[in-house]
């Protein structure tokens, strides 16, 4: 009932609570380093995440060199290879994507887009970043301990993760577990902030059903993370005990290399359940912010409202809820009770329905739009293509019996890279090109951006599409070398060499992207406050980049949803969320400058 009233156009509820007191920095140190301003924290998170992400990128080159040219690089031994895949996978998923989407974009966008001056608990928010940084440093430290980092695979399955025979079982694994525990502690501090801020600090008139989908995506992802990470946390603590104290949570009786170990009675599969109870929602912790952000990119640059907004919100909520009852689709051939397969295959395929609806609504937003092929729009299109491709192969792996031949092959590697590697990264790039003007007041260079897009998109597709077919053939994942294997033809090696070459090209293009960021930050064309002529609140700030407290003396009041594009009875083709209803026919396009900038970006 309440919702029905609030959905009425222009409805604004009366203010109920007074504005909260804002923390003001007193010195350079508290302004730029130990800052409590979410925007500064966001940039700290983003830079740290991208820096550690570059490490993961370089590791992927090493792995590809080995796979493409197996006998050429003698400095890559089997131990190294397994350490590389483990660190690469874990960094990409947790320390890059999770941190960047939630700590980076979440911190920057939540207060601005809901119309708040800052996060609700700024001090805890600051701690969140510093603990994240500590987690990253502990992770990096594992490269330098005797035995090196763990090579147990990013899934860290016991018993091998903590036993000799696996690289890093001396110290690397413990540092990995400690680092994960730290990450979770830090994330929880930030996560509580994001949730409470979205629920409690929205400005007047910003009803839940007027929130931009970016916020819905980040909000739901944070809820998932707060519920899912504890499973990983206890798993990490228990495994640390198994490793250091000799407990046997995950360790059955074992005879290894002719020696009887002292463990007994534990269950390796218990760890897998804990890991994937976290691990599957983790896929959506990365995907939901991407869903949300890409919805806004598409809407803004197609100059059209998002199609089926309410269904989009419900799809996010339903996907989030369902993501907690599908985890064992990663364990179809783990040796768990095979009858579980019926249940988990059914829930997994049901998730495809709300996911497909989201895809339809994205393309239906383009339909009858007025599409500007800006760089963010290109990346949004790239996202849709790679996400549909990766989503489809998920239907193979989710359908239990189809998973049996494909599980643990290159097909899986290709699938998850497409759906949670390439697709979300497309959104990250699109989002950076999109919000860079707000963060710096300058536009990024467009030709460089277009070049970056085409090389990255076509390259990534050419890398991962053929790998599916190696998987069909039966090429396993996590193989340092295929050696002599009867059923694998010579041509598979040629393909691997080709893929490696493309990987290096795509990698080089990322350097151009970093260069673009650096140059545009200093020399980029001035963007004005709202270069894309967008409706949501972050584009309506009095200063660009937004100042301390975001919105000047008074907070904006919101009269409508974030998708008022192409309204027939308004002077412009967009209506900002905070434009008073009686201004609709006035000349509110406050920045002639920004207008031309958007066209120049075309």
């Amino acid at each position: 009932m309440v919702d029905a009233v609030q959905d009425q156009d222009d409805f604004v509820p009366p203010a109920e609570v007074a504005e909260m007191e804002l923390y003001h920095p007193k010195s350079w140190l508290t302004k730029y380093v130990f800052s409590q301003d979410a925007k500064v924290i966001a940039i700290q998170y983003s830079f740290t995440a991208i820096a550690i992400g570059l490490v993961a990128l370089v590791l992927s080159w090493m792995m590809r060199l080995q796979l493409g040219f197996p006998e050429t690089f003698s400095f890559i031994e089997a131990e190294d290879y397994y350490q590389f895949i483990t660190m690469h996978g874990m960094i990409m998923v947790i320390y890059l994507l999770t941190a960047l989407f939630l700590g980076g974009f979440g911190n920057y966008l939540i207060p601005l887009m809901v119309g708040a001056r800052d996060m609700v608990f700024p001090y805890v928010n600051m701690l969140s970043y510093w603990i994240y940084l500590a987690a990253v440093l502990v992770l990096l430290a594992s490269f330098f301990v005797p035995g090196g980092p763990t090579g147990a695979g990013w899934t860290l399955y016991p018993p091998q993760a903590i036993l000799p025979g696996t690289p890093g079982s001396e110290g690397g694994i413990v540092l990995m577990l400690v680092s994960l525990a730290l990450f979770i502690v830090g994330f929880t501090m930030g996560g509580l902030n994001y949730v409470v801020t979205v629920l409690q600090a929205r400005t007047r008139g910003m009803t839940l059903m007027r929130l931009p989908l970016t916020i819905w995506g980040i909000f739901m992802a944070t809820v998932l993370a707060l519920l899912a990470f504890p499973a990983l946390f206890v798993g990490a603590v228990m495994m640390t005990f198994d490793s250091l104290l000799g407990t046997s949570f995950f360790m059955p009786a074992i005879s290894q290399f002719g020696e009887q170990l002292k463990y007994g009675g534990g269950s390796p599969i218990l760890f897998q359940h804990l890991f994937w109870f976290f691990g599957h929602p983790e896929v959506y912790i990365v995907a939901l912010p991407a869903f949300g952000i890409v919805s806004d990119l598409i809407s803004v640059h197609a100059r059209r409202h998002i199609f089926g907004y309410r269904l989009m919100v419900w799809a996010i909520v339903i996907i989030g809820a369902l993501s907690f009852i599908v985890w064992a689709h990663h364990m179809y051939v783990s040796g768990m009770n095979p009858y579980f397969g019926f249940f988990f295959a059914t829930t997994t395929l049901i998730i495809a329905i709300p996911t497909a609806i989201k895809v339809y609504n994205w393309v239906l937003t383009l339909w009858r739009g007025n599409i500007q092929l800006t760089v963010p729009m290109l990346f949004a299109i790239g996202f849709i293509v790679t996400f549909v491709n990766g989503g489809i192969t998920g239907l193979f792996l989710g359908n239990v019996v189809v998973d049996v031949p494909l599980s643990d092959t290159m097909f899986v590697v290709a699938h998850f890279h497409m759906v949670m590697g390439v697709a979300p990264i497309m959104v990250v790039f699109g989002a950076i090109y999109h919000w860079f003007p707000k963060m710096t007041g300058r536009l990024m260079n467009v030709p460089m951006g277009q070049f970056h897009f085409w090389v990255t998109f076509v390259g990534a597709y050419a890398i991962f599409l053929p790998l599916h077919y190696l998987g069909f053939l039966g090429v396993p994942r996590r193989y340092y070398a295929m050696l002599d294997t009867g059923f694998i033809p010579e041509s598979a090696q040629d393909l691997n060499a080709f893929v490696t070459v493309v990987v290096l090209i795509v990698g080089a293009a990322q350097m151009l992207f970093l260069y673009n960021i650096a140059v545009s930050m200093i020399k980029g064309k001035k963007s004005g406050p709202n270069p894309w002529r967008a409706t949501s609140l972050e584009w309506q700030t009095p200063q660009t980049p937004p100042g301390h407290g975001n919105f000047g003396p008074t907070l904006p009041v919101v009269y409508r949803w974030a998708y008022a594009y192409g309204l027939p009875d308004a002077t412009e083709d967009y209506v900002p969320q905070n434009l008073a209803p009686d201004q609709l026919m006035s000349d509110y396009d406050n920045s002639g400058l920004s207008h031309s900038a958007a066209q120049a970006a075309e």
Partner: protein, 291 residues
């Protein structure tokens, strides 16, 4: 223009690659052709959706390209369209799930009378055990493992004495009869995979897992480990030889049984260990090492 062309190229290119790819599944050698059939169904349903979405997007990009002064259509919702899309998607999903669960039901239902064979994984080697004349596989325990009893068989279990042990050799299977493959690991996770069989399952220390199949074609195929098990994971190989019943029986007759192994070792090491174990639990393991 060029963006729309690229989207079409990606769609067409993907389909062409699919049909022209020289990399495709290996010729099947088991009864699990049903799995291949389910994959083909999945390919058709998802392939149509993939191409349809991409082509529609290319059309939109071309047809609704930005024009100064034009407005996009304002139609926030279209319930009817959304319902139709949901229903069609639901049907497509059901079209994959139902055959899938049907085949899974066969996969988890071992036919009565299937022969039992045990595969044992260790870092980084395969071993195999056949039930012997009595047709029953004897019990085993990791704690009984020693240099003379690498499988950890229980010497007090009469069912185990005639078991045939193949350590580090090849697996032989008779053509045409259903086989239940029991999987056991004594150290870390492994996974028993023969790509031509299509079936696979993890081997988990502390429990016995299984799957079943009927070999349908003679030949020698690679056995690979498909679960990361440490540095030697990629070297953990063996072969499986599928042969006619006569040839199989002849081969089996040449292998040593557990009783013969013990006799050759000149003692009954397994028994001694088991007695110690009964009294003092884990300590037995240490003593045996010290010997």
């Amino acid at each position: 223009m060029y963006v729309a062309v690229m989207i079409v190229l990606v769609a067409v290119g993907t389909v062409v690659f699919h049909f022209m790819s020289p990399w495709w599944w290996t010729p099947i050698a088991s009864n699990w052709g049903y799995i291949d059939d389910t994959i083909i169904i999945t390919f058709w349903i998802t392939g149509v959706v993939f191409v349809a979405v991409l082509l529609f997007m290319a059309y939109c990009v071309l047809r609704f390209r930005y024009k100064e002064g034009r407005r996009s259509e304002y139609e926030p919702e279209n319930k009817k369209l959304e319902w139709w899309l949901t229903i069609i998607t639901g049907l497509g999903v059901a079209g994959m799930l139902i055959p899938g669960l049907f085949v899974w039901n066969q996969f988890v239902t071992v036919p009565p009378g299937a022969a039992e064979i045990e595969v044992v994984g260790t870092q980084w080697q395969w071993s195999f055990r056949y039930p012997g004349k009595d047709g029953v596989i004897g019990t085993s325990n990791v704690r009984l493992i020693s240099g003379d009893n690498p499988f950890g068989l229980n010497p007090d279990d009469p069912n185990g004495r005639d078991d045939v042990l193949v350590e580090g050799g090849d697996l032989h299977l008779p053509l045409g009869g259903p086989v239940k493959i029991l999987l056991r690991s004594i150290d870390v996770l492994h996974n028993f995979t023969v790509p031509q069989f299509r079936a696979k399952m993890d081997m988990v220390p502390g429990m016995i897992t299984y799957f079943w199949l009927t070999p349908t074609r003679t030949g020698t195929f690679d056995i690979l480990c498909f679960e990361l098990c440490g540095t030697g994971h990629y070297t953990m190989r063996a072969s499986v030889v599928v042969e006619e019943k006569n040839a199989f029986d002849a081969w089996l007759g040449e292998q040593e049984t557990f009783a013969q192994t013990m006799a050759r070792a000149g003692s009954d090491p397994g028994r001694k260990a088991s007695l110690v174990l009964n009294e003092t639990g884990n300590v037995a393991a240490k003593d045996r090492q010290a010997q």
